[in-house]
Amino acid sequence: MTRLRTVGTVAALTLREASRRRVVLALIGLTVLLLAGSGWGFSRVAAETGGSALTSGEARLTASIMLNLVMFGYSLVAALGTAFLAGPTLAGETESGIALAVLARPVRRSDFLLGKWLGLVAFGSGFVVLAGLAQCLVVRATTDYWPPRPATALALLAAQTVVLLTLAVLLSTAISPMASGVVAVGLFCTTWVAGVVGGIGASLGNESVARVGTVSRVLLPTDGLWRGAMNAFQDPTAFTFFGDGGGQAFPFLSVAALTTSYLVWALVWVAMVWGLAAASFLRKDL
């Protein structure tokens, strides 16, 4: 009971920190900007469709691509937000001395870390789910397009955020706050680029290049989960517009839904990296 209270207290403290440091305000501002901009863009697609410039299939394809593009923007914002919040909240508190008084209380370091992680998970996941849902509603209102599996897509977006923030938490137990944020976001972007390169390789039938994407998705599951989310956001007929394999090279469409085994791997990856973070934090001299 005491341990649960500790975890809950630290998680609530992390959420309060995000709120008091105006991270929430900044994210709301960015989200409103993205919603307004994309709303205008989607309304232009609807206008073109209404004027018969696009067939209904082309309109659905365009809406799918644009939706995935905007959602990538949200996932990037969530990645930046959580990665740069995880650094200050853990490594920053250790460096500044704030953690000294807290961890001198009857608190297990693993409980403290779990509380921080849960707070970040609630914050990052909450943001992508709410912003993603708002985006889906904007798309529906402007183009009448509704993703085939929105709940799955939003859950995978949240999972992607969890993966990245878990990595950021591990890094922040070992390196400085700023470095942990930079490395986490850098790896996130690198994995995404590797995924795009892999898609190009697959479309060209080059197995070696295609393997770049496969390996990167195993090493850091953010891109794999992102591709699963895209697949759930996009229109199922989207690929009929491309030739054989041509759509695989397109960065904002995903060929296949995620397999259960990959989802299990993502879960194992998170548990493993969290375990490493806990082991590193437990051994840390403050």
Binding site: I98, L100, A101, P106, V107
Partner: protein
């Protein structure tokens, strides 16, 4: 007397044997540690430190910069992992976090969540301690350190002194039975220092044990029952103030001091000379005959004795003497 001698003399008084005190029917000491060691890279920060703080005792931790005082404190509180050694807090092994439920701590590096108000910081620490402390009691704690008017203000806007006062409130808020204060007055003005002294004395009167690390030797001398002196990661000396300062000194104004006279003085104890004035440390086992014997012998050697005054060394002088002896012993060992 050398630092090593003092340490050995004080074995009975302060270290009280190093067997874990679990079987003793009286309450376990507030702090008990044995054989603590810590190395940072090539630097041996703490080397075989053993100490004890009894219930209700106020123990001062003294030593030069880099002596290992803060490292010892952090090992006691589980913030730094010792390479070797055992720690018990309030009768429980320090590896068990519940041992710290009744421990208050003001770190040397005092920083608190700048996005919280002072009152919120206290509420956070009360929740983490698992002790039920009412809101009025928390407010009283802030008032005790002079922050009653700033309870609702964000900590980010506090001066260093105010943050240290808040740290003191944090250390006191969860009804501690042991309070560890690491340089508690480093950012405080003279009034603040007096406040801290009064708080420590109040804690002692309520039976709360205090481990106080401070460079302000005068403050330590005023409030501490016992003192542990660390030098280069080792306990150089420890004991009650009476034990440490109990050595008497004699000040003599002499003229015509011959080599034989100087040898007679040196045979009595440590000698320091300022012009005609000589200060001699008297042996600890003096039965009262040392002074008349010395004066008689000096007179017999043709030394003219103009004045003889008793003197008592201060804690600062004692500390410096111990550190000097340690440095000389190391230099002698190296040679």
């Amino acid at each position: 007397m050398t630092a090593a001698d003092v340490a050995s003399v004080d074995d009975d008084a302060t270290l009280r044997g190093m067997a874990p005190p679990a079987d003793v029917p009286t309450p376990a000491p507030a702090v008990w540690c044995s054989g603590l060691r810590k190395r940072y890279g090539r630097q041996q920060a703490v080397e075989d430190v053993s100490l004890e703080v009894g219930r209700g005792d106020v123990v001062g931790l003294l030593g030069p910069n880099g002596a290992g005082k803060t490292s010892v404190i952090k090992m006691l509180l589980g913030l730094v992992r010792p390479d070797a050694g055992e720690v018990q807090l309030l009768g429980r092994p320090a590896g068990d976090p519940t041992a710290r439920a009744r421990v208050g701590y003001l770190p040397e590096l005092f920083r608190y969540q700048p996005w919280l108000s002072a009152a919120e910081v206290l509420t956070l620490h009360v929740r983490l301690s698992g002790i039920d402390v009412s809101a009025p009691e928390q407010r009283d704690c802030l008032a005790l350190v002079g922050l009653a008017e700033r309870a609702g203000d964000r900590v980010g806007g506090f001066s260093k002194g105010m943050q240290q006062r808040l740290g003191l409130a944090v250390a006191l808020v969860a009804r501690p039975e042991l309070v560890v204060l690491d340089e508690p007055t480093s950012a405080l003005d003279p009034l603040g220092r007096v406040d801290v002294r009064d708080i420590v004395l109040d804690l002692r009167s309520r039976g709360v044990a205090v481990l106080l690390n401070s460079h302000l030797i005068g403050e330590v001398e005023r409030v501490c029952d016992r003192v542990v002196i660390l030098d280069r990661g080792r306990v150089a000396a420890s004991g009650t103030l009476a034990e440490l300062l109990g050595q008497r000194e004699l000040r003599l104004q002499l003229t015509g001091l011959s080599a034989k006279g100087q040898a007679r003085l040196a045979a009595t104890g440590r000698v320091e000379r300022e012009g005609d004035w000589i200060t001699v440390t008297l042996p600890p086992d003096d039965d009262g005959s040392a002074v008349p014997d010395l004066v008689r012998d000096l007179a017999a050697l043709g030394v003219r004795v103009h004045a003889v005054e008793p003197a008592r060394i201060t804690l600062e002088e004692r500390l410096l003497g111990i550190l000097r002896d340690g440095a000389e012993a190391r230099a002698g060992g190296a040679a």
